[in-house]
């Protein structure tokens, strides 16, 4: 839905209240657009140092086109589009695309990604089983699980079954501590 009055800065939000200029400045859209504009403009300015010189043989380039040509076209287009979108956004001339994430949502998402980052960092360090037990337990708690047997069952059975399926059925490796590998090997029939 395009707005008929592009000069009006009082575009109603999805919740009915008009969006102020300050709201628009702090919105995720504006911040993302500004980040893309800055990133593409900086990359264009520093293109010479971000793209290596083309390889040459006897003074002739081995490449049909300079390696920076296509990136330069794309980055220029991105910078221009970001600038246009930013202006449209700040002037309230963009179509209404539905409700944004509300502020109270953020802590749960932050906690989830914090756990996932921890999981990514420890998975190869302390092995698949222990890292998964930690991550799955924390995520279960975040999801509101309070039953210890349920959390324990999911956190232990899940990684054990997945590890055995991956290593025994699909013959692929997952990072695991030697001591845990020894325990798996001691299970009869595996």
């Amino acid at each position: 839905m395009m707005h008929d009055s592009p000069v009006s800065n009082e575009r109603p939000s999805v919740h009915g209240a008009p969006l102020t200029h300050r709201d628009r400045l702090r919105s995720p859209e504006t911040l993302t657009l500004a980040a893309l504009l800055i990133a593409s403009a900086l990359s264009l300015l520093c293109l010479g140092s971000l793209v290596a010189e083309p390889k040459a043989l006897f003074g002739r380039s081995l490449s049909a086109i300079p390696p920076s040509l296509f990136p330069m076209l794309v980055l220029t287009a991105l910078a221009l589009l970001s600038a246009i979108a930013l202006v449209l956004q700040l002037r309230g001339m963009v179509p209404d695309e539905g409700a944004p994430l509300s502020v109270p949502d953020s802590p749960r998402a932050t906690a989830l990604f914090g756990i996932m980052l921890l999981y990514a960092l420890i998975l190869t360090q302390i092995g698949f089983l222990i890292s998964t037990i930690v991550a799955v337990s924390l995520i279960s708690l975040l999801m509101g699980a309070r039953s210890i047997p349920q959390i324990a069952a999911v956190a232990i059975l899940g990684p054990v079954l997945l590890y055995l399926a991956a290593t025994r059925l699909l013959a692929v490796s997952l990072p695991e501590l030697d001591v845990v590998e020894t325990i798996y090997a001691a299970i009869p029939g595996l």
Partner: protein, 494 residues
Amino acid sequence: MLDQFTQGFAMAMRLDTVALMSFGLFAGMLVGALPGFTTLMAMAILLPISFFLDPVVGIPFLLGIYKGGIFGGSVPAILISMPGTGASVATSRDGYKLTQKGQSRKALDMALVSSVFGDTASDIFTIAMIFPIAFLVMQFGPPELFAVLLMSLVIIAATSGTNPVKSLMMIMLGLWLSFIGTDPLGGVERFTFGLFDLKSGIPLLPMLIGVFALPEVASVVIRNEKARKLTSLVGERLNWAELRRCMPTIGRSTVIGTMVGIVPGLGQIVAAMMGYSAAKNASKHPETFGEGELEGVAAAEAANNAVNGPTMVPLLTLGIPGDNVTAILLGAFVAQGLRPGPQLFEEQGATVFAILVAMVIANLLFLVIGYLSIPIFSRLVTIRTSVLIPLVIMFAFAGTYVYRSDPVDLLMLVGFGIFGIIARAAKFDVMPMVMGFILGPSMEYAFGQTIAMSGGDTAGFFLTERIGALCVLIATPVIGFLLWKRLNARALPA
């Protein structure tokens, strides 16, 4: 071609292909039936399993998830008015009304039968058309390929979301990400910042799982969804008279879905809405639509499933994924060493036919598995998310790790997941970015070859030798604008 078809048919009839496809169908229906969980998420997370299977087993396994997931999404749409996938939004309009009238079993049966019919008919169309189209594509040179790839990206931008500027930006961002690593033409490093891990570029799998699956998981966590109250499965089954009455609608929707499927970027949601609108317009009693009309369920389900087969046409002939699910399928093809494009039909014709025949076989299995499992899937709405979400995250991490056994991929996964969440908050669609990333190297290669072929006079070269490619380039913005205009003018049918 007949030899290749015969070989492909034999390959598709392998027991392991049928078994894994059945498992994929079941898994797809299961995930699709869970509110908040999508086919896309299931495919992204289970994609790595396909890497360790033979191509004629692994790819049908993913196709099973794809087909099963779309039908699975109609279960919560009909039972609790919560579409499991975007493609089931139109289904929920009449499906849930039928549930309220005590006819949920009839609605689910109709969803299943029309899904299978739409899917099978469109798959047969795909088998008949894909080789002639591939033959045509073989005549393409770099300028034509560049023009078609550019047109595909513009169509994707025009059909994705309501703001084409944002979609174009995401395509440019995807192209930019595809530059990271080694230049496909000159072999020099670009945008690696001297980091060894970036020399081989960004791997596709962490990006796919990160931007498609993790934001879905995060949205369930953010909404703090719990299990739902089970709506019992009641009412009579679908009878022949009702099915016969709906057959013209199913046929019409199948044609609509097939046409929509060929165009990259449109996908099941558009097909379902168009099928539903067409059925309502053609009906003698349009006022019954939205009030529990069986034809409404049939129209939406036949159309959204009819998209499945034809999306393989641009994917297999040009390497252009029609939507985010086929982008994941493209990842599977590439990982299996099957590079989609016209050469694939020359080098691996039997494998291509095996995959296409497997799609038809999957539909027969789909009917049987779906019919027997409807009561099971209808209970899935009660499963606790506190059990499912941790397991989904575990699968996402394990799947990403086994792809290259590189811990950096796990950090990329989280990074792309965060990006996916930010993109959602800022109302950017990540699908164009993934398309730009996938098509970037081919596009740059075709661009470089075109410049080299033109010998410095690109405009003259197009005007004198490549009129066809020039016409496509000129028509591209016009087609993009018309598509955007048309799609944004059409609101959800009332």
